[in-house]
Amino acid sequence: MPYFWLLALFLIPFLIVFKISLSDAALAIPPYMPTMKEGLGAMLSQLDFENFVFLTEDDLYWKAYLSSLKIAFISTVFALLVGYPIAYAMARAPTEWRATLMMLIILPFWTSFLIRVYAWVGILSTEGLLNRFLLWIGIIGDPLIILNTSTAVYIGIVYTYVPFMILPIYAALERLDESLIEAAEDLGCSRMKAFWLITIPLSKGGIIAGCFLVFIPALGEFVIPSLLGGSGTLMIGKVLFEEFFSNRDWPVASAVAVILLIILIIPIILFQRNEQRQQEAEQ
């Protein structure tokens, strides 16, 4: 039974999105005119690529896609730099602590996503806590403008998604056999070298999984760029949402969605492949 549910609620709507993006913009409310009542034939007969062409003509969309890719990519890198040391420290911690540490990493995840992003608004604004702190200890003379810039978006994405980076890496590191490091050191490796030559390659699966778990959702993020980014921060999720709710241009919104999905297909497939390889390695 879940099969049919999924089929109905997922595949069919997706086909509809595809269809709509090819149809003309309707002016009436509801904006979208042809319904399934008219049958599949009617839907197909109205296929055309007008909306997709529109996307290519207007600069906004191209820029938004590219900007999203850039922001998602940079955020993923930062998340990796922040998350890996934490995961590593967790994996090295005494065994009794690990359950508690794990709980502490997961706890923020159960807290509302929206609230956690909102918290940064108060911190990053010009009169916010971060600026007040930096001014107070004298590092800067004028308040930094962080809120409503891309930087705030980077911070926001890293903050929200870093647990997703930590967990797979931690899982991979925990499975790592410490005697491998000891063997390397026994054979003459320094600590740092052993880390680069052994630990990192062996935790590769976890690193890749973590990166995808951050990159893919970050690409389509809406809340973070809306709250923390400014009008200058272009992300496709935000564009889609605004296209839909502000401009009420559903067909264009659909076209935007379809292209975003196409962009995502390759990372999603790569992610699934990595997961499969991980599972097989475990067996």
């Binding site: 039974m1 879940p2 549910w5 999924l6 089929l7 109905a8 609620l9 997922f10 069919i12 709507p13 999105v17 709509i20 509801p30 319904t35 399934m36 009542k37 922040v82 040391p85 934490i86 420290a89 967790m90 090295r92 911690a93 709980m103 997961i106 706890l107 923020p108 807290t111 509302s112 996503f113 929206l114 609230i115 909102y118 918290a119 608004v121 108060g122 911190i123 009169e127 916010g128 806590l129 903050y159 870093v162 647990p163 959702p217 389509g220 809406f222 809340v223 709250l227 999720g237 889609l240 949402f241 839909f244 709710f245 919104a253 659909s254 969605a257 975003l260 999905l261 995502l264 999603i268």
Partner: protein, 272 residues
């Protein structure tokens, strides 16, 4: 490894500080008499009072709660069924498609799933409101539940089911009397996950809702768009508090349970 190196200690400290300070700050400022973040005007609980007098918020909270309970319950049933099909089904027709559909919402940006669902609702001529939000949440929650339950099912010892069959249970009885009680913790975890996701969802609810229904996240969103709001701080603190208590309790209970079982096993071996 018994002691952590200083580097690791620093990593952990900074890491957890990074994760928790923003939430801590929210909680502190929810008690700030002044509206502004810049000024600390003294301790006050007046924002909590304002929050509870705000009818719109309370209504939205109630709707959100209802939706979360209903959608997560249905999602848990469907997700468990899906997980069972995936793990035990072997190779059936359309398996790759089914598996893909299950895992897709996990990584798909919410704007896309939201839009698709909305168009479906329009397409079948359904009035949008609380019902459509429930349907929407059930759909994507089901996928998360499925992931949680199927990972537990995959490691489940099948000889237990075989023993049940061998002793005369029908396949359904074996599932009901043996498998289900044993994977129950995973099913409960799935329910909790679905509940949390539903409670917290903004984007999909925005797409799937109608004029009559507003959820709490949507209310929060409309408030914070305009900037910092102390009532939201208060609400946030309440939510953070509830979640923290819940997670810590669950963690303690689980830990005590595991320790007790280990102790009993060891005692049994020694006594034999």
């Amino acid at each position: 490894m018994n002691r952590l190196s200083p580097f690791n200690v620093v990593s952990l400290t900074f890491g957890f500080a990074f994760l928790y300070l923003p939430m801590l700050i929210l909680v502190i400022y929810s008690f700030n008499k002044s509206k502004l973040v810049t000024v600390w005007a003294g301790f006050s609980t007046k924002w909590y009072g304002e929050l509870f007098r705000n009818e719109a918020f309370l209504d939205a909270a109630w709707v959100t709660l209802k939706v979360a309970v209903i959608s997560s319950s249905i999602a848990t049933v469907l997700g468990t069924m899906a997980a069972y099909t995936l793990v035990r089904g072997g190779r059936f027709f359309g398996r790759t498609l089914f598996s893909g559909m299950i895992y897709a919402p996990l990584v798909m940006p919410e704007v896309i799933t939201g839009l698709s669902l909305l168009l479906l609702f329009i397409g079948i001529g359904m009035d949008r409101g609380v019902m459509t939000i429930v349907l929407a949440h059930t759909t994507f929650s089901m996928c998360f539940v499925s992931v949680v339950v199927s990972s537990r099912l995959a490691t489940f010892d099948r000889s237990l089911e075989e023993a049940a069959l061998d002793l005369g249970a029908s396949p359904f009885q074996a599932f009901r009397l043996v498998t289900l009680p044993i994977i129950a913790p995973a099913v409960v975890a799935g329910w909790l996950l679905a509940f949390t996701l539903s409670l917290d969802d903004l984007v999909i609810a925005s797409f799937a809702t109608g004029p009559s229904a507003t959820t709490l996240p949507m209310k929060i969103w409309s408030s914070v768009r305009l900037g910092v709001s102390p009532e939201i701080n208060a609400l946030s603190s309440i939510l953070i508090g509830l979640v923290s208590i819940g997670v810590i309790c669950a963690s303690l209970v689980s830990k005590r349970h595991t320790l007790r079982i280990q102790r009993e096993e060891r005692a049994a071996e020694r006594a034999a």
